[in-house]
């Protein structure tokens, strides 16, 4: 049962990942692209944790943590760049 639930969740998040890629390709503004990229990072974290859950290893949690931090910092940097035109003044 857990196996099928994992498949279902992986399919959901994978579909969401494709939707985000579609949104990045077709968005009309920069803000939408940044938002889609942020969502894609969150989906990537979920996929990584699901893979670690299906393989019963714990090594992916550290990777997911690092990706979460990198995603946050990159989104803040993008927003900063949209606002000011540069990141570190």
């Amino acid at each position: 049962m857990i196996t099928y639930a994992t498949y279902f969740a992986t399919a959901c998040f994978g579909l969401g990942f494709l939707m985000n890629l579609w949104k990045i390709a077709t968005a009309e503004g920069v803000g939408d692209r940044v938002l889609a990229l942020d969502t894609m990072v969150i989906n990537a974290i979920a996929l990584m944790i699901l893979y670690g859950l299906s393989r019963s290893t714990e090594i992916f949690f550290e990777a997911a943590m690092i990706i979460a931090m990198l995603g946050f910092v990159s989104t803040v940097a993008y927003a900063r760049f949209m606002l000011r035109g540069n990141i570190i003044e």
């Binding site: 049962m1 857990i2 099928y4 639930a5 994992t6 279902f8 969740a9 992986t10 399919a11 959901c12 998040f13 579909l15 969401g16 990942f17 939707m19 985000n20 579609w22 949104k23 503004g29 920069v30 803000g31 939408d32 940044v34 938002l35 889609a36 942020d38 969502t39 969150i42 989906n43 974290i45 979920a46 944790i49 699901l50 670690g52 859950l53 019963s56 714990e58 949690f61 550290e62 997911a64 943590m65 979460a68 931090m69 946050f72 989104t75 803040v76 927003a79 900063r80 949209m82 606002l83």
Partner: protein
Amino acid sequence: MDQVLEILIAVFLVIGGVFGLVGSFGLIKLNDAMSRLHAPTKATTLGVGGVLIASMLHAYAHEGHLSWHELLITLFLFLTAPITANFIAKAHIHRHETPDSLPVAGEDLKWATHDIAPEKQKSDSAPTDRS
């Protein structure tokens, strides 16, 4: 006991998957930029939270003790999602809205990202070329 735990893990996985899908679908479905902000920052974060809880319970079922890494990631995501949403909303207000096109900002005169307060404006009279 094991059966109950298994059902619980499966339920959390399904709930998380559905929330993640709804969040990503809302990103392409909603047609206003500011309402589009809601779907990924709330629904997708909740979906990841569900998956992380399932992972915690899975570690408990297999190794007999809860692992706290997942809770750390959940906390981090739940803390950073509103901050990123705030940043993106601020960038959107600065790029696409003027003070006239926004609704009335309560008891302040203008929206906080657009202008500094009038009494502060008087006190530092040095002209700032960057607004």
